[in-house]
Protein backbone atom coordinates (compact mmCIF):
# COMPACT_ATOMS: atom_id res chain seq x y z
CA UNK A 1 0.00 0.00 0.00
CA UNK A 2 1.45 3.32 -1.06
CA UNK A 3 1.84 6.08 1.48
CA UNK A 4 -0.63 8.92 1.39
CA UNK A 5 0.46 12.23 -0.10
CA UNK A 6 -2.54 14.25 1.03
CA UNK A 7 -5.05 13.44 3.73
CA UNK A 8 -7.96 15.73 4.46
CA UNK A 9 -10.25 15.32 7.43
CA UNK A 10 -13.56 17.11 8.12
CA UNK A 11 -12.46 20.17 6.21
CA UNK A 12 -14.63 23.29 6.11
CA UNK A 13 -13.92 26.55 4.33
CA UNK A 14 -15.86 29.78 3.95
CA UNK A 15 -14.72 32.84 2.02
CA UNK A 16 -14.72 36.06 4.07
CA UNK A 17 -17.96 38.07 3.88
CA UNK A 18 -19.97 35.19 2.48
CA UNK A 19 -22.69 33.24 4.22
CA UNK A 20 -22.55 29.81 2.60
CA UNK A 21 -19.61 27.46 2.91
CA UNK A 22 -17.42 27.05 -0.16
CA UNK A 23 -16.37 23.65 1.12
CA UNK A 24 -18.18 21.66 3.75
CA UNK A 25 -17.10 18.51 5.50
CA UNK A 26 -14.51 17.23 3.05
CA UNK A 27 -12.59 14.10 3.93
CA UNK A 28 -10.40 12.30 1.44
CA UNK A 29 -7.03 10.67 0.91
CA UNK A 30 -4.70 10.98 -2.07
CA UNK A 31 -1.98 8.37 -2.25
CA UNK A 32 1.59 9.01 -3.34
CA UNK A 33 2.16 8.75 -7.09
CA UNK A 34 -1.53 8.80 -7.82
CA UNK A 35 -2.98 10.67 -10.80
CA UNK A 36 -6.08 12.31 -9.37
CA UNK A 37 -8.66 14.14 -11.42
CA UNK A 38 -11.00 16.62 -9.72
CA UNK A 39 -14.21 17.21 -11.66
CA UNK A 40 -17.35 19.23 -11.08
CA UNK A 41 -19.18 22.25 -12.37
CA UNK A 42 -17.93 25.83 -12.10
CA UNK A 43 -18.34 26.99 -8.50
CA UNK A 44 -18.40 23.49 -7.05
CA UNK A 45 -15.33 24.16 -4.91
CA UNK A 46 -12.61 22.48 -6.99
CA UNK A 47 -10.29 25.48 -7.05
CA UNK A 48 -10.89 26.19 -3.36
CA UNK A 49 -9.94 22.63 -2.52
CA UNK A 50 -6.67 22.72 -4.46
CA UNK A 51 -5.81 26.16 -3.01
CA UNK A 52 -6.20 24.66 0.45
CA UNK A 53 -3.95 21.73 -0.47
CA UNK A 54 -1.29 24.23 -1.61
CA UNK A 55 -1.56 26.22 1.62
CA UNK A 56 -2.68 29.37 -0.19
CA UNK A 57 -5.67 29.68 2.11
CA UNK A 58 -6.24 28.38 5.61
CA UNK A 59 -9.04 25.98 6.51
CA UNK A 60 -11.68 27.19 8.88
CA UNK A 61 -12.17 23.81 10.50
CA UNK A 62 -10.59 20.43 9.99
CA UNK A 63 -7.11 19.13 9.29
CA UNK A 64 -4.96 18.61 6.24
CA UNK A 65 -1.76 16.69 5.94
CA UNK A 66 0.09 17.65 2.79
CA UNK A 67 3.30 15.72 2.08
CA UNK A 68 3.90 15.40 5.81
CA UNK A 69 3.02 18.98 6.75
CA UNK A 70 0.06 19.47 9.04
CA UNK A 71 -2.29 22.35 8.28
CA UNK A 72 -5.25 23.48 10.32
CA UNK A 73 -6.99 26.71 11.31
CA UNK A 74 -4.20 27.70 13.72
CA UNK A 75 -1.24 27.14 11.36
CA UNK A 76 1.00 30.22 11.11
CA UNK A 77 1.57 31.94 7.75
CA UNK A 78 5.27 31.06 7.69
CA UNK A 79 4.54 27.38 8.22
CA UNK A 80 1.89 27.57 5.52
CA UNK A 81 4.46 28.79 3.01
CA UNK A 82 6.59 25.69 3.67
CA UNK A 83 4.01 23.77 1.68
CA UNK A 84 5.34 25.45 -1.47
CA UNK A 85 8.61 23.54 -1.12
CA UNK A 86 6.74 20.33 -1.70
CA UNK A 87 3.71 21.28 -3.77
CA UNK A 88 3.72 22.94 -7.20
CA UNK A 89 0.62 24.69 -8.49
CA UNK A 90 0.03 25.38 -12.18
CA UNK A 91 -2.83 27.86 -12.32
CA UNK A 92 -5.32 28.27 -15.12
CA UNK A 93 -3.71 30.18 -18.01
CA UNK A 94 -0.33 30.17 -16.21
CA UNK A 95 1.26 32.18 -19.04
CA UNK A 96 -0.49 35.23 -17.55
CA UNK A 97 1.92 35.17 -14.61
CA UNK A 98 5.14 35.49 -16.58
CA UNK A 99 7.01 38.64 -15.65
CA UNK A 100 10.78 38.38 -15.99
CA UNK A 101 12.99 39.75 -18.75
CA UNK A 102 14.25 36.35 -19.85
CA UNK A 103 12.84 32.85 -19.83
CA UNK A 104 15.68 31.75 -17.57
CA UNK A 105 14.96 34.36 -14.94
CA UNK A 106 11.27 33.55 -14.94
CA UNK A 107 11.83 29.85 -14.44
CA UNK A 108 14.44 30.58 -11.74
CA UNK A 109 11.95 32.70 -9.78
CA UNK A 110 10.44 29.76 -7.86
CA UNK A 111 13.71 28.01 -6.94
CA UNK A 112 15.22 31.38 -5.91
CA UNK A 113 12.29 32.04 -3.58
CA UNK A 114 12.89 28.65 -2.01
CA UNK A 115 16.45 29.76 -1.23
CA UNK A 116 18.37 27.34 -3.44
CA UNK A 117 22.02 27.90 -4.37
CA UNK A 118 23.01 29.35 -7.75
CA UNK A 119 24.24 25.96 -8.97
CA UNK A 120 21.03 24.22 -7.95
CA UNK A 121 18.95 26.93 -9.61
CA UNK A 122 20.85 26.72 -12.89
CA UNK A 123 20.50 22.97 -13.02
CA UNK A 124 16.82 23.02 -12.16
CA UNK A 125 16.13 25.62 -14.89
CA UNK A 126 17.88 23.46 -17.51
CA UNK A 127 16.09 20.33 -16.29
CA UNK A 128 12.72 22.06 -16.35
CA UNK A 129 13.24 23.37 -19.89
CA UNK A 130 14.19 19.89 -21.04
CA UNK A 131 11.14 18.39 -19.33
CA UNK A 132 8.70 20.71 -21.10
CA UNK A 133 10.49 20.12 -24.40
CA UNK A 134 11.83 23.60 -25.04
CA UNK A 135 15.32 24.19 -26.46
CA UNK A 136 17.85 25.49 -23.95
CA UNK A 137 18.69 28.27 -26.44
CA UNK A 138 15.36 29.87 -25.53
CA UNK A 139 16.73 30.77 -22.08
CA UNK A 140 17.88 34.23 -23.10
CA UNK A 141 14.67 35.15 -24.95
CA UNK A 142 11.96 37.32 -23.49
CA UNK A 143 8.99 35.19 -22.40
CA UNK A 144 6.65 37.76 -23.99
CA UNK A 145 8.12 37.19 -27.46
CA UNK A 146 7.14 33.50 -27.49
CA UNK A 147 4.04 31.87 -28.97
CA UNK A 148 1.08 31.11 -26.71
CA UNK A 149 1.88 27.42 -26.43
CA UNK A 150 5.54 28.12 -25.67
CA UNK A 151 4.59 30.69 -23.03
CA UNK A 152 2.47 28.10 -21.28
CA UNK A 153 5.36 25.64 -21.33
CA UNK A 154 7.70 28.23 -19.83
CA UNK A 155 5.15 28.92 -17.10
CA UNK A 156 4.80 25.21 -16.36
CA UNK A 157 8.60 24.87 -16.38
CA UNK A 158 8.64 27.61 -13.73
CA UNK A 159 6.62 25.35 -11.46
CA UNK A 160 8.46 22.13 -12.36
CA UNK A 161 11.81 23.79 -11.60
CA UNK A 162 10.77 23.76 -7.94
CA UNK A 163 10.82 19.94 -8.12
CA UNK A 164 7.47 19.45 -6.39
CA UNK A 165 6.47 16.09 -4.91
CA UNK A 166 2.86 16.96 -5.55
CA UNK A 167 1.86 18.80 -8.71
CA UNK A 168 -1.50 20.57 -8.86
CA UNK A 169 -2.82 21.67 -12.26
CA UNK A 170 -5.97 23.75 -12.70
CA UNK A 171 -7.32 23.06 -16.18
CA UNK A 172 -3.85 22.98 -17.74
CA UNK A 173 -5.11 22.37 -21.28
CA UNK A 174 -7.66 25.20 -21.46
CA UNK A 175 -7.18 27.14 -24.69
CA UNK A 176 -4.58 24.81 -26.18
CA UNK A 177 -4.97 23.10 -29.57
CA UNK A 178 -5.29 19.32 -29.79
CA UNK A 179 -1.62 18.67 -30.42
CA UNK A 180 -0.41 20.91 -27.60
CA UNK A 181 -3.04 19.36 -25.29
CA UNK A 182 -1.85 15.83 -26.03
CA UNK A 183 1.81 16.80 -25.58
CA UNK A 184 1.10 18.49 -22.26
CA UNK A 185 -0.91 15.55 -20.94
CA UNK A 186 1.83 13.18 -22.02
CA UNK A 187 4.34 15.29 -20.10
CA UNK A 188 2.14 15.24 -16.99
CA UNK A 189 1.80 11.47 -17.26
CA UNK A 190 5.60 11.13 -17.58
CA UNK A 191 6.09 13.17 -14.43
CA UNK A 192 3.49 11.02 -12.72
CA UNK A 193 5.41 7.90 -13.74
CA UNK A 194 8.55 9.45 -12.23
CA UNK A 195 6.96 9.51 -8.75
CA UNK A 196 5.16 12.87 -8.81
CA UNK A 197 1.67 12.87 -7.35
CA UNK A 198 -0.60 14.69 -9.81
CA UNK A 199 -3.83 16.47 -8.90
CA UNK A 200 -5.56 17.84 -12.00
CA UNK A 201 -8.73 19.90 -12.13
CA UNK A 202 -10.43 19.30 -15.46
CA UNK A 203 -13.68 19.47 -17.40
CA UNK A 204 -12.57 16.97 -20.04
CA UNK A 205 -13.93 13.52 -19.23
CA UNK A 206 -11.72 11.98 -21.92
CA UNK A 207 -8.69 13.17 -19.95
CA UNK A 208 -10.13 11.69 -16.75
CA UNK A 209 -10.80 8.37 -18.46
CA UNK A 210 -7.45 8.18 -20.13
CA UNK A 211 -5.05 9.37 -17.43
CA UNK A 212 -6.55 9.36 -13.94
CA UNK A 213 -6.37 6.49 -11.45
CA UNK A 214 -8.62 8.26 -9.01
CA UNK A 215 -11.40 10.76 -9.56
CA UNK A 216 -13.01 13.15 -7.10
CA UNK A 217 -16.33 14.62 -8.22
CA UNK A 218 -17.55 17.73 -6.43
CA UNK A 219 -20.81 19.61 -6.29
CA UNK A 220 -21.79 22.60 -4.14
CA UNK A 221 -18.74 22.31 -1.90
CA UNK A 222 -19.15 18.62 -1.18
CA UNK A 223 -17.39 15.52 -2.45
CA UNK A 224 -20.07 13.53 -4.29
CA UNK A 225 -17.88 10.75 -5.59
CA UNK A 226 -14.40 9.61 -4.58
CA UNK A 227 -13.67 6.61 -6.72
CA UNK A 228 -12.06 5.22 -9.88
CA UNK A 229 -12.96 6.69 -13.29
CA UNK A 230 -14.45 3.36 -14.38
CA UNK A 231 -16.77 3.28 -11.40
CA UNK A 232 -17.81 6.90 -11.86
CA UNK A 233 -18.67 6.39 -15.51
CA UNK A 234 -20.70 3.26 -14.78
CA UNK A 235 -23.09 5.28 -12.62
CA UNK A 236 -24.98 7.27 -15.22
CA UNK A 237 -27.51 8.58 -12.68
CA UNK A 238 -24.84 10.19 -10.56
CA UNK A 239 -23.16 11.62 -13.65
CA UNK A 240 -26.41 13.23 -14.69
CA UNK A 241 -26.79 14.68 -11.21
CA UNK A 242 -23.31 16.18 -11.46
CA UNK A 243 -24.07 17.38 -15.04
CA UNK A 244 -20.98 15.57 -16.27
CA UNK A 245 -20.81 13.95 -19.67
CA UNK A 246 -19.50 10.49 -20.46
CA UNK A 247 -16.22 10.14 -22.31
CA UNK A 248 -16.96 9.33 -25.93
CA UNK A 249 -15.71 5.72 -25.68
CA UNK A 250 -18.01 4.91 -22.74
CA UNK A 251 -20.85 6.73 -24.46
CA UNK A 252 -20.53 4.59 -27.60
CA UNK A 253 -20.19 1.40 -25.56
CA UNK A 254 -23.37 2.13 -23.65
CA UNK A 255 -25.19 3.00 -26.87
CA UNK A 256 -24.11 -0.33 -28.38
CA UNK A 257 -25.22 -2.22 -25.31
CA UNK A 258 -28.62 -0.59 -25.48
CA UNK A 259 -28.87 -2.01 -28.98
CA UNK A 260 -28.07 -5.53 -27.80
CA UNK A 261 -24.38 -5.66 -28.55
CA UNK A 262 -22.76 -8.03 -26.05
CA UNK A 263 -19.80 -6.05 -24.76
CA UNK A 264 -17.91 -7.58 -21.85
CA UNK A 265 -16.64 -4.29 -20.50
CA UNK A 266 -19.16 -1.48 -20.74
CA UNK A 267 -16.76 1.25 -19.56
CA UNK A 268 -13.84 1.19 -21.99
CA UNK A 269 -11.81 4.24 -21.01
CA UNK A 270 -10.09 4.85 -24.33
CA UNK A 271 -11.13 4.51 -27.94
CA UNK A 272 -8.53 1.76 -28.38
CA UNK A 273 -10.06 -0.37 -25.66
CA UNK A 274 -13.51 0.32 -27.13
CA UNK A 275 -12.28 -1.00 -30.47
CA UNK A 276 -10.91 -4.09 -28.72
CA UNK A 277 -14.26 -4.66 -27.03
CA UNK A 278 -16.12 -4.40 -30.33
CA UNK A 279 -13.72 -6.86 -32.01
CA UNK A 280 -14.16 -9.27 -29.10
CA UNK A 281 -17.94 -9.01 -29.27
CA UNK A 282 -17.96 -9.58 -33.03
CA UNK A 283 -15.68 -12.60 -32.75
CA UNK A 284 -17.84 -14.23 -30.09
CA UNK A 285 -20.88 -13.62 -32.29
CA UNK A 286 -19.15 -15.35 -35.20
CA UNK A 287 -18.40 -18.33 -32.98
CA UNK A 288 -22.00 -18.75 -32.00
Amino acid sequence: MAKSAVTIKDLHYKYPNTTSEALSDISLTIKEQEFVAIVGQTGSGKSTLVSLIDGLIKPEKGDLNVAGLKINATTKAEDLSKVHHRVGFVFQFPEQQLFAETVEEDIAFGPRNLGWTAGQIKKSVDDALKMVGLPVALKTHSPFALSGGQMRRVAIAGVLAMKPQILILDEPTAGLDTQATNELLKLIKQLNNKATTVIMVTHQMEQVARYADHVIAMSEGKVIADTTPRHLFSDSQQLAKLSLTLPISVDIAQFLRKHDAKLENTEPLTLDSLADEIVKAMRSKENE
Partner: protein, 267 residues
Protein backbone atom coordinates in the same frame (compact mmCIF):
# COMPACT_ATOMS: atom_id res chain seq x y z
CA UNK B 1 -6.97 39.61 -0.77
CA UNK B 2 -9.36 40.93 1.83
CA UNK B 3 -13.00 41.63 1.19
CA UNK B 4 -13.15 44.77 3.32
CA UNK B 5 -14.98 47.78 2.05
CA UNK B 6 -12.61 49.69 -0.13
CA UNK B 7 -12.57 53.43 -0.49
CA UNK B 8 -15.04 54.34 -3.20
CA UNK B 9 -16.96 51.08 -3.43
CA UNK B 10 -20.71 50.81 -3.83
CA UNK B 11 -22.77 49.53 -0.90
CA UNK B 12 -25.85 47.72 -2.25
CA UNK B 13 -28.60 48.64 0.20
CA UNK B 14 -31.89 50.48 -0.22
CA UNK B 15 -32.17 54.10 0.85
CA UNK B 16 -33.49 57.48 -0.20
CA UNK B 17 -30.02 58.47 -1.36
CA UNK B 18 -29.59 55.30 -3.42
CA UNK B 19 -32.85 56.08 -5.22
CA UNK B 20 -31.91 59.67 -6.12
CA UNK B 21 -30.95 60.56 -9.65
CA UNK B 22 -27.16 60.24 -10.00
CA UNK B 23 -27.02 63.67 -11.67
CA UNK B 24 -28.43 65.49 -8.65
CA UNK B 25 -26.18 63.46 -6.35
CA UNK B 26 -23.11 64.38 -8.38
CA UNK B 27 -24.11 68.06 -8.45
CA UNK B 28 -24.79 68.02 -4.70
CA UNK B 29 -21.43 66.44 -4.03
CA UNK B 30 -19.56 68.97 -6.18
CA UNK B 31 -21.41 71.97 -4.73
CA UNK B 32 -20.89 70.65 -1.22
CA UNK B 33 -17.15 70.29 -1.78
CA UNK B 34 -17.04 73.89 -3.06
CA UNK B 35 -18.99 75.04 0.00
CA UNK B 36 -16.37 73.44 2.26
CA UNK B 37 -13.92 76.12 1.11
CA UNK B 38 -16.22 78.86 2.40
CA UNK B 39 -15.95 77.55 5.94
CA UNK B 40 -14.22 80.12 8.13
CA UNK B 41 -15.38 79.52 11.68
CA UNK B 42 -16.84 76.92 14.06
CA UNK B 43 -20.43 77.65 13.22
CA UNK B 44 -20.13 77.25 9.45
CA UNK B 45 -18.02 74.12 9.99
CA UNK B 46 -20.70 72.64 12.22
CA UNK B 47 -23.47 73.57 9.79
CA UNK B 48 -21.86 71.68 6.92
CA UNK B 49 -20.95 68.78 9.21
CA UNK B 50 -24.61 68.52 10.20
CA UNK B 51 -25.60 68.41 6.54
CA UNK B 52 -23.11 65.59 5.95
CA UNK B 53 -24.43 63.66 8.94
CA UNK B 54 -27.94 63.99 7.59
CA UNK B 55 -26.76 62.57 4.25
CA UNK B 56 -25.00 59.68 6.01
CA UNK B 57 -28.14 59.00 8.01
CA UNK B 58 -30.24 58.98 4.82
CA UNK B 59 -27.81 56.71 3.00
CA UNK B 60 -28.63 53.73 5.26
CA UNK B 61 -24.92 52.86 5.40
CA UNK B 62 -23.42 52.60 8.89
CA UNK B 63 -20.93 55.24 10.00
CA UNK B 64 -18.55 52.40 10.81
CA UNK B 65 -18.50 51.32 7.18
CA UNK B 66 -17.56 54.83 6.08
CA UNK B 67 -14.79 54.86 8.64
CA UNK B 68 -13.43 51.58 7.26
CA UNK B 69 -13.40 53.09 3.80
CA UNK B 70 -11.55 56.21 4.94
CA UNK B 71 -9.11 54.50 7.32
CA UNK B 72 -6.51 53.57 4.67
CA UNK B 73 -6.27 57.24 3.67
CA UNK B 74 -5.89 58.45 7.22
CA UNK B 75 -2.11 58.08 7.27
CA UNK B 76 -1.77 60.39 4.25
CA UNK B 77 -4.05 62.94 5.92
CA UNK B 78 -2.02 62.81 9.13
CA UNK B 79 1.27 63.30 7.27
CA UNK B 80 -0.14 66.32 5.42
CA UNK B 81 -1.42 67.80 8.65
CA UNK B 82 1.91 67.22 10.39
CA UNK B 83 3.73 69.02 7.58
CA UNK B 84 1.25 71.86 7.81
CA UNK B 85 1.83 72.19 11.56
CA UNK B 86 5.62 72.07 11.33
CA UNK B 87 6.33 74.14 8.25
CA UNK B 88 3.89 77.05 8.28
CA UNK B 89 4.64 80.25 10.08
CA UNK B 90 2.76 83.22 11.46
CA UNK B 91 1.17 84.17 14.77
CA UNK B 92 2.52 83.15 18.14
CA UNK B 93 5.40 80.68 18.15
CA UNK B 94 5.21 77.80 20.64
CA UNK B 95 8.24 75.69 19.68
CA UNK B 96 10.92 75.65 17.01
CA UNK B 97 13.86 73.53 15.87
CA UNK B 98 15.80 74.42 12.72
CA UNK B 99 13.31 75.27 10.00
CA UNK B 100 10.52 73.52 11.86
CA UNK B 101 8.26 75.48 14.15
CA UNK B 102 4.87 75.14 15.74
CA UNK B 103 2.95 78.38 15.46
CA UNK B 104 -0.57 79.54 16.15
CA UNK B 105 -1.36 80.02 12.44
CA UNK B 106 0.13 76.65 11.63
CA UNK B 107 -2.13 74.96 14.17
CA UNK B 108 -5.24 76.72 12.91
CA UNK B 109 -4.38 76.03 9.26
CA UNK B 110 -3.73 72.37 9.93
CA UNK B 111 -7.02 72.07 11.78
CA UNK B 112 -8.84 73.52 8.77
CA UNK B 113 -6.99 71.17 6.43
CA UNK B 114 -7.81 68.19 8.62
CA UNK B 115 -11.48 69.20 8.60
CA UNK B 116 -11.57 69.72 4.83
CA UNK B 117 -9.82 66.45 4.09
CA UNK B 118 -12.10 64.34 6.24
CA UNK B 119 -15.29 66.07 5.12
CA UNK B 120 -14.45 65.97 1.41
CA UNK B 121 -13.40 62.33 1.51
CA UNK B 122 -16.48 61.34 3.49
CA UNK B 123 -18.79 63.31 1.20
CA UNK B 124 -17.38 61.67 -1.91
CA UNK B 125 -17.60 58.29 -0.18
CA UNK B 126 -21.29 58.96 0.45
CA UNK B 127 -21.65 59.55 -3.29
CA UNK B 128 -19.78 56.39 -4.31
CA UNK B 129 -21.42 54.25 -1.62
CA UNK B 130 -24.90 55.16 -2.83
CA UNK B 131 -24.26 55.39 -6.58
CA UNK B 132 -23.01 52.64 -8.86
CA UNK B 133 -20.01 53.52 -10.98
CA UNK B 134 -21.87 53.36 -14.29
CA UNK B 135 -24.43 55.80 -12.87
CA UNK B 136 -21.67 58.22 -11.95
CA UNK B 137 -20.28 57.90 -15.46
CA UNK B 138 -23.73 58.60 -16.94
CA UNK B 139 -24.15 61.61 -14.67
CA UNK B 140 -20.73 62.96 -15.64
CA UNK B 141 -21.59 62.53 -19.31
CA UNK B 142 -24.74 64.57 -18.80
CA UNK B 143 -22.85 67.21 -16.85
CA UNK B 144 -20.23 67.57 -19.59
CA UNK B 145 -22.77 67.88 -22.41
CA UNK B 146 -22.44 71.69 -22.68
CA UNK B 147 -18.72 71.23 -23.41
CA UNK B 148 -19.65 69.73 -26.78
CA UNK B 149 -20.20 73.26 -28.01
CA UNK B 150 -16.50 74.00 -27.60
CA UNK B 151 -15.60 70.74 -29.42
CA UNK B 152 -14.66 68.70 -26.36
CA UNK B 153 -14.99 64.99 -27.30
CA UNK B 154 -17.47 64.30 -24.49
CA UNK B 155 -18.58 60.92 -25.88
CA UNK B 156 -15.06 59.60 -26.06
CA UNK B 157 -14.19 60.90 -22.60
CA UNK B 158 -17.23 59.29 -21.02
CA UNK B 159 -16.61 56.04 -22.87
CA UNK B 160 -13.04 56.01 -21.60
CA UNK B 161 -14.27 56.73 -18.12
CA UNK B 162 -16.92 54.02 -18.10
CA UNK B 163 -14.50 51.45 -19.53
CA UNK B 164 -11.94 52.37 -16.87
CA UNK B 165 -14.53 52.04 -14.11
CA UNK B 166 -15.88 48.82 -15.58
CA UNK B 167 -12.47 47.15 -15.38
CA UNK B 168 -11.59 48.09 -11.80
CA UNK B 169 -13.18 44.94 -10.32
CA UNK B 170 -11.69 42.79 -13.10
CA UNK B 171 -8.22 44.09 -12.36
CA UNK B 172 -8.73 43.62 -8.62
CA UNK B 173 -9.69 39.98 -9.24
CA UNK B 174 -6.71 39.53 -11.46
CA UNK B 175 -4.37 41.00 -8.85
CA UNK B 176 -5.64 38.46 -6.33
CA UNK B 177 -5.13 35.66 -8.83
CA UNK B 178 -1.60 36.70 -9.77
CA UNK B 179 -0.63 37.18 -6.12
CA UNK B 180 -1.88 33.70 -5.38
CA UNK B 181 0.06 32.23 -8.29
CA UNK B 182 3.29 33.96 -7.26
CA UNK B 183 2.78 32.87 -3.66
CA UNK B 184 2.48 29.31 -4.95
CA UNK B 185 5.91 29.89 -6.50
CA UNK B 186 7.29 30.55 -3.06
CA UNK B 187 7.22 34.34 -2.72
CA UNK B 188 6.34 35.64 0.71
CA UNK B 189 4.68 39.06 0.50
CA UNK B 190 4.64 39.62 4.25
CA UNK B 191 8.34 39.37 4.92
CA UNK B 192 11.50 41.34 4.30
CA UNK B 193 12.38 45.00 4.55
CA UNK B 194 10.87 47.80 2.47
CA UNK B 195 13.31 47.25 -0.40
CA UNK B 196 12.50 43.54 -0.82
CA UNK B 197 8.83 44.30 -0.46
CA UNK B 198 9.05 46.77 -3.31
CA UNK B 199 10.91 44.17 -5.36
CA UNK B 200 8.08 41.77 -4.62
CA UNK B 201 5.73 44.09 -6.50
CA UNK B 202 7.49 43.42 -9.81
CA UNK B 203 6.09 39.89 -10.32
CA UNK B 204 2.59 41.28 -9.71
CA UNK B 205 2.69 44.57 -11.60
CA UNK B 206 4.31 43.34 -14.81
CA UNK B 207 1.80 40.56 -15.52
CA UNK B 208 -0.96 43.00 -14.56
CA UNK B 209 0.25 45.58 -17.09
CA UNK B 210 0.85 43.02 -19.83
CA UNK B 211 -2.61 41.53 -19.37
CA UNK B 212 -4.27 44.95 -19.26
CA UNK B 213 -2.67 46.00 -22.54
CA UNK B 214 -3.68 42.72 -24.15
CA UNK B 215 -7.22 43.13 -22.88
CA UNK B 216 -7.42 46.72 -24.12
CA UNK B 217 -6.32 45.63 -27.57
CA UNK B 218 -8.89 42.84 -27.65
CA UNK B 219 -11.60 45.19 -26.48
CA UNK B 220 -10.72 47.72 -29.18
CA UNK B 221 -10.79 45.02 -31.84
CA UNK B 222 -14.14 43.73 -30.60
CA UNK B 223 -15.62 47.24 -30.59
CA UNK B 224 -14.40 47.94 -34.10
CA UNK B 225 -15.69 44.58 -35.30
CA UNK B 226 -19.11 45.59 -34.03
CA UNK B 227 -18.96 48.86 -35.89
CA UNK B 228 -18.13 51.32 -33.14
CA UNK B 229 -17.77 54.83 -34.51
CA UNK B 230 -16.49 57.37 -31.99
CA UNK B 231 -18.17 60.26 -33.78
CA UNK B 232 -21.61 58.74 -34.23
CA UNK B 233 -24.39 60.07 -32.00
CA UNK B 234 -24.95 57.74 -29.06
CA UNK B 235 -28.15 56.53 -27.48
CA UNK B 236 -28.34 55.14 -23.95
CA UNK B 237 -29.76 51.89 -22.69
CA UNK B 238 -30.28 53.45 -19.27
CA UNK B 239 -32.27 56.65 -19.57
CA UNK B 240 -32.03 59.10 -16.69
CA UNK B 241 -35.30 60.77 -15.70
CA UNK B 242 -35.95 63.38 -13.05
CA UNK B 243 -38.38 62.54 -10.23
CA UNK B 244 -40.10 64.64 -7.58
CA UNK B 245 -37.70 63.50 -4.86
CA UNK B 246 -34.82 64.83 -6.95
CA UNK B 247 -36.45 68.25 -6.69
CA UNK B 248 -36.64 67.81 -2.91
CA UNK B 249 -32.96 66.95 -2.87
CA UNK B 250 -32.17 70.09 -4.87
CA UNK B 251 -34.24 72.10 -2.39
CA UNK B 252 -32.26 70.52 0.45
CA UNK B 253 -29.05 71.61 -1.21
CA UNK B 254 -30.51 75.12 -1.54
CA UNK B 255 -31.21 75.19 2.18
CA UNK B 256 -27.62 74.17 2.95
CA UNK B 257 -26.25 76.95 0.70
CA UNK B 258 -28.59 79.63 2.04
CA UNK B 259 -27.93 78.47 5.60
CA UNK B 260 -24.19 78.81 5.08
CA UNK B 261 -24.47 82.27 3.54
CA UNK B 262 -26.86 83.37 6.30
CA UNK B 263 -24.46 82.22 9.04
CA UNK B 264 -21.57 84.02 7.34
CA UNK B 265 -23.51 87.27 6.97
CA UNK B 266 -25.19 87.34 10.40
CA UNK B 267 -22.27 86.26 12.59
Amino acid sequence: MNNKIVFGSYVPVKSILHRLDPRIKLIMCIVYVILIFFVNDWLTALWLLAALFLAIKLSNVALKQYWQGIKPLFLIILITVAFQILFSSGGKMYWHWGIMAITQDGLINSLIILYRFIIIITASTVLTATTQTFQIADALAWLMKPLKVVKVPVNQITLMLSIALRFVPTIMDETTKIMKAQRARGINFNSGNILTRIQHLVPILIPLFVNSFKRAEELATAMEARGYDPNAPRTHYRQLTWHTYDIWAALGLGIVIIGLLWIRIIF
